[in-house]
């Protein structure tokens, strides 16, 4: 194997992963579990049927404080931060000056607290933290929290399992966030995740991580789930993987993430490259991110060229694989806008041969979030 000499970082659950028999792989500079002895396929299906516990401690957690951190953060994201009510979490894009996507992230306003709580991607966290600190120097200060672990408990049985260690938590609804305790450890818990299922993300101090993880794994519904199933779950849910489906070469409009731009922000045009992005909102872009369903059983992987029926290349797949819940291959990628309509027939060039496929609506598997009524 072509291993590098890079020293991989470890999450607070590293020893537990080893004990559980995980197969470890390098990911974003960390030695992470790609699968447990259960295997990717069953880990995926188990998460959709019952509940899965994911170690996402490699992701970047931070607090943004200052006299008005919401107003400050709006300099870097087109999301509506000022309008976020207490006890709620929201998805946002971190934009660079050119209006392309530096990262995607979650931000929360905890009840009664001034600072915003941020969670950014693992592979981009150092760059994001430097960027945010530099750009907001003098008006807000960012405090990264590498001392915190992050667990995701996902699936239809997640609420019942977590309730046993955090009484009352199942009353929380989708995208709500609260400080509470989980197995007696002080925690920040949000009802969210990245699988398309109902579930929670649980931020705790690293010193408590293994004990909390063991408590949750002790519940009969819960199995440990690796990054392999995390990837197939988020792909079926139509959710972007940063560095693959979105990066600094694309803007919010071509990435089909316009919904993450706040209404007030669209009117005020006060975010990075707002004029350019609003022009794209009204006049369209040359290409768009779409969902793709191959007709047959063969998966088409990241990097696969997409052609029209005459063989002309019209785009590329950015995430592709097999969807265990659909028992069929699924993909997403960018195509010329003329080919972005649902049902458009395209070919995927797999091993030199055209594989018939169709542009398809996402999510491929319906989201089952526990929304407030």
């Amino acid at each position: 194997m072509a291993d590098t000499n890079e020293v991989l970082l470890k999450t607070p659950l590293h020893a537990l992963h080893a004990e559980l028999g995980a197969k470890m792989v390098p990911f974003a500079g960390y030695d992470m579990p790609v699968q447990y002895p259960t295997g990717v396929l069953r880990e995926h299906l188990h998460t959709r049927e019952k509940a899965g516990l994911f170690d996402v401690s490699h992701m970047g957690q931070a607090f943004l404080s200052g006299s008005d951190p919401s107003k400050a953060l709006e300099r870097l994201t087109p999301a509506d931060v000022l309008g976020l009510k207490e006890g709620l979490q929201r998805y946002g894009l971190l934009l660079n000056d050119a209006g392309t996507i530096k990262d995607d992230f979650m931000f929360s306003r905890l009840a009664g607290e001034g600072p915003l709580y941020l969670v950014v991607n693992a592979g981009t966290k150092q760059g994001d933290f430097d960027y945010i600190s530099t750009k907001l120097r003098g008006i807000a200060s960012l405090e990264p929290r590498p001392d915190r672990a992050l667990l995701a408990l996902q699936g239809p049985a997640a609420a019942a399992a977590l309730e046993r260690h955090s009484p009352g938590i199942s009353k929380l609804t989708f995208m709500k966030v609260v400080r509470c305790t989980v197995a007696a450890a002080p925690a920040i818990v949000s009802r969210s995740g990245y699988t398309g299922e109902d579930g929670f993300e649980i931020s705790i101090e690293s010193v408590h991580a293994e004990r909390v993880a063991r408590a949750l794994l002790g519940e009969p519904e819960v199995l440990p789930i690796g990054l392999g199933a995390r990837d197939s779950l988020r792909l079926e849910a139509g959710l972007c993987l940063y560095g693959h489906d979105i990066d600094e070469t694309v803007g919010p409009v071509e990435a089909s993430l316009v919904w993450s731009i706040g209404k007030r922000r669209k009117l005020d045009r006060d975010f990075p490259a707002a004029e350019k992005i609003m022009d794209a909102v009204f006049n369209g872009t040359a290409r768009k991110r779409v969902g793709i369903r191959p007709d047959g059983k063969a998966p088409a992987r990241e990097g696969t060229e997409i052609a029209d029926k005459s063989g002309r290349v019209i785009g590329k797949i950015t995430s592709g694989g097999f969807g265990p819940s659909l028992n069929a291959p699924v993909a997403m990628g960018y195509v010329e806008t003329a080919f972005a309509g649902d049902g458009t027939e395209i070919d995927l060039i797999v091993r030199g041969k055209p594989l018939p496929a169709r542009v398809a609506p996402m999510p491929f598997v319906p989201h089952r979030y526990r929304r407030a009524i």
Partner: protein, 124 residues
Amino acid sequence: MSEVRFTEQHEWVRVDGDEATIGITKYAAEQLGDVVYVELPEAGRKVGAGGEAAVVESVKAASEVYAPVGGEVTGSNDALSGDPAKVNADPEGEGWFFKLKLADKSEFSKLMSAEQYAEFVKGI
């Protein structure tokens, strides 16, 4: 009497007369994880020793399967297209990939024995 030999790319080949049956080893199946798709060669196709002959895909990734010996493909395991999980369940039996008519028996004798392959896997 049939005899089974192995390659460093983790294929096995069983030869009976001049017919060779080819699949991937238990070790390879474990490394790949859950197999979700296989692409098998058509009967009549001629493959050289070490040439790409089939594709096996897990949830995570696609891998090539190479012909350990050269010859003309005489058939493939159609049951795998409906039930690719057979590759994980019984990689060195029901999970076979394809058969070919052996062109040169000396290619077969150059491959690793079961004992040599077991040693090879231990060293990985």
